[in-house]
């Protein structure tokens, strides 16, 4: 079982925006995942990979506090800013509220923060512009394409200026072209946002393309729960990663850890 020993920033634990220790997860009687330790530093991008059904989405929910872990502790230190939220999430399906216009959807997380109506509006238009949809602010969600809806979902999550942004396979429902474009947009966006990102994907290439570190889950069998296989540092330059000679090597290493090269094609 891997530990955090390969984390260069580990000594800087006091500044972590997310801390999880010995987390086990399960449903009614069965434990599906155990022994997850993770510390996420400000602005860091951590990808979580693993085969379908290994518990990636469940782990993300637990890290966000949407469900309670069976064992272990999760902590997202509260900020003291009254107009931001500690975390937000981009779901696998866009899950926009169809009864709200695009801008009102993006404002959802801002409601209840100490912001005036005008400030809320401004704070919603800003991330919409970032994802290139400011012209769509007054549209109904159903008039947007799937990729555009997913971008609104990203804008909604960015609007609250989270310190941790959780993303659960945000691009997996999209066609290859749109996915590629949004991946590039995300790389771009990282330069303009202060959020640390925890990004779940079953696409190992996507993980290596985007992340600073990759948390590899695997090893679950009938009765034994899955766990952390390793945490890989992606020691590649931030730009033009796909073309870098180390890219394929890193992908292969992770595929080896998961124990299946077909994981990439999992639904």
């Amino acid at each position: 079982m891997a530990t955090l020993s390969d984390t260069p920033l580990q000594d800087d634990a006091s500044s972590a925006v997310l801390r999880a220790q010995g987390v086990s997860l399960g449903f009614s009687g069965t434990t599906i995942l155990q022994g997850v330790d993770l510390e996420v530093q400000p602005r860091e991008f951590v990808a979580v990979v693993g085969a379908s059904g290994v518990g990636k989405s469940t782990l993300l929910r637990a890290l966000a506090g949407l469900i309670a872990p069976r064992r272990g502790e999760v902590e997202i230190p509260a900020g003291n800013s009254p107009d931001t939220r500690a975390w937000s999430m981009v779901f696998q399906a866009p899950r926009l509220f169809p009864w709200r216009r695009v801008r009102a959807n993006v404002e959802l997380g801002l409601e209840g923060l100490s912001l005036s109506r005008a400030q809320r509006r401004e704070r919603a238009l800003e991330p919409l512009a970032l994802v290139g949809l400011d012209d769509y602010a007054e549209r109904w969600p159903h008039t947007l394409s799937g990729g555009q809806q997913q971008r609104v979902g990203i804008a909604r999550a960015l609007a609250v200026r989270p310190r941790v942004l959780f993303m659960d396979e945000p691009f997996s429902a999209l066609d290859a072209i749109t996915r590629r474009r949004l991946q590039n947009e995300l790389v771009d966006l990282r330069r303009r946002s202060d959020a640390a990102i925890v990004f779940v994907t079953h696409d190992i290439e996507e993980a290596v393309l985007l992340a600073d570190r990759v948390l590899v889950l695997g090893g679950g069998k009938d009765d034994t729960p899955a766990g952390m296989r390793d945490v890989i540092d992606v020691a590649l330059p931030k730009e033009e990663r796909r073309e870098h000679p180390g890219f394929a090597e890193c992908v292969q290493r992770i595929e080896g850890l998961i124990g299946t090269s077909a994981a990439n094609d999992a639904p």
Partner: protein, 253 residues
């Protein structure tokens, strides 16, 4: 099956109605139908005008509308409140589930004895009876509308800091269930008219009472005038409601 173009369909529908009325008129004039049991269609407009000129028409429509409005408003409000509450609060749902199952099959008109004992023969009793049928329709439709809301929306609300019950109610449950709830309201508007007349038959002033009077005098033409009045009022209310409904649900594809 081939489709009809819209103007053609409207024309055929109009011809069907006109043909029915013409057949009715001709059968009476030819003595094929007993004239003392069925009125001549051509006399209806005149009788209608006489009812209006007497001021009777406005008087009875006004009183029926007032029972109707009160009964529908109370029945809808309570039905939606209890239905939504049952869908969202499991304890409340369990608490009244058997009671609801027990009371539900009782037809609104079976409450007439209690209505008279509790309220007397007066408009409140009619409103009470109307509200019962409207209540059940709204109760069941809003319950199942809220129950079938995608739980994913709730998770979104919680993830974006809207975890308070009132926030989830106002920002997720009610808007998401609005199509179903409005459908129930609309069905209730129709159900209300069914019971208005019946509720007035036992002596509360309104359309129903006027129809009973007319039938006592074998004035079948007056009975028909009020049947058409109910049909017209129903169509009017339904059309108005559709306008509101379409506006409220303009977010739908």
């Amino acid at each position: 099956m081939s489709r009809l173009s819209r103007p053609r369909r409207l024309l055929i529908s109009a011809l069907g109605l006109a043909g029915f009325i013409a057949l009715w008129e001709v059968s009476l004039r030819a003595g094929l139908l007993p004239g003392n049991l069925v009125p001549l269609p051509s006399t209806i407009p005149g009788v209608f005008w006489a009812e209006i000129a007497d001021g009777i028409w406005f008087e009875v429509v006004r009183s029926s509308l007032s029972h109707y409005a009160v009964g529908v408003a109370i029945g809808s409000l309570l039905g939606i409140t209890v239905g939504v509450g049952a869908a969202l609060v499991p304890t409340f749902n369990a608490l009244h589930a058997w009671l609801a199952r027990l009371l539900r099959p009782i037809p609104p008109l079976a409450w007439i004895p209690f209505a008279i004992i509790w309220f007397g023969v007066n408009p409140t009793a009619a409103a009470f009876i109307i509200s019962i049928g409207v209540f059940w329709i709204n109760y069941f439709t809003s319950y199942s509308a809220v129950r079938s809301v995608d739980p994913g929306y709730d998770e979104v609300a919680i993830a974006f800091g809207q975890q308070r019950f009132v926030d989830r109610l106002a920002k997720v449950s009610l808007p998401a269930a609005a199509p179903g709830i409005l459908g129930g309201l609309r069905a209730g508007l129709g159900q209300g008219w069914m019971t208005v007349v019946a509720a007035e038959l036992f002596g509360i002033p309104g359309i129903g009472q006027r129809m009973m009077e007319a039938s006592g005098l074998l004035a079948t033409d007056i009975v028909v005038v009020y049947m058409l009045t109910i049909a017209g009022l129903y169509a009017l209310f339904d059309a108005l409601f559709m306008v509101v409904q379409r506006r409220m649900l303009r977010w739908q594809p």
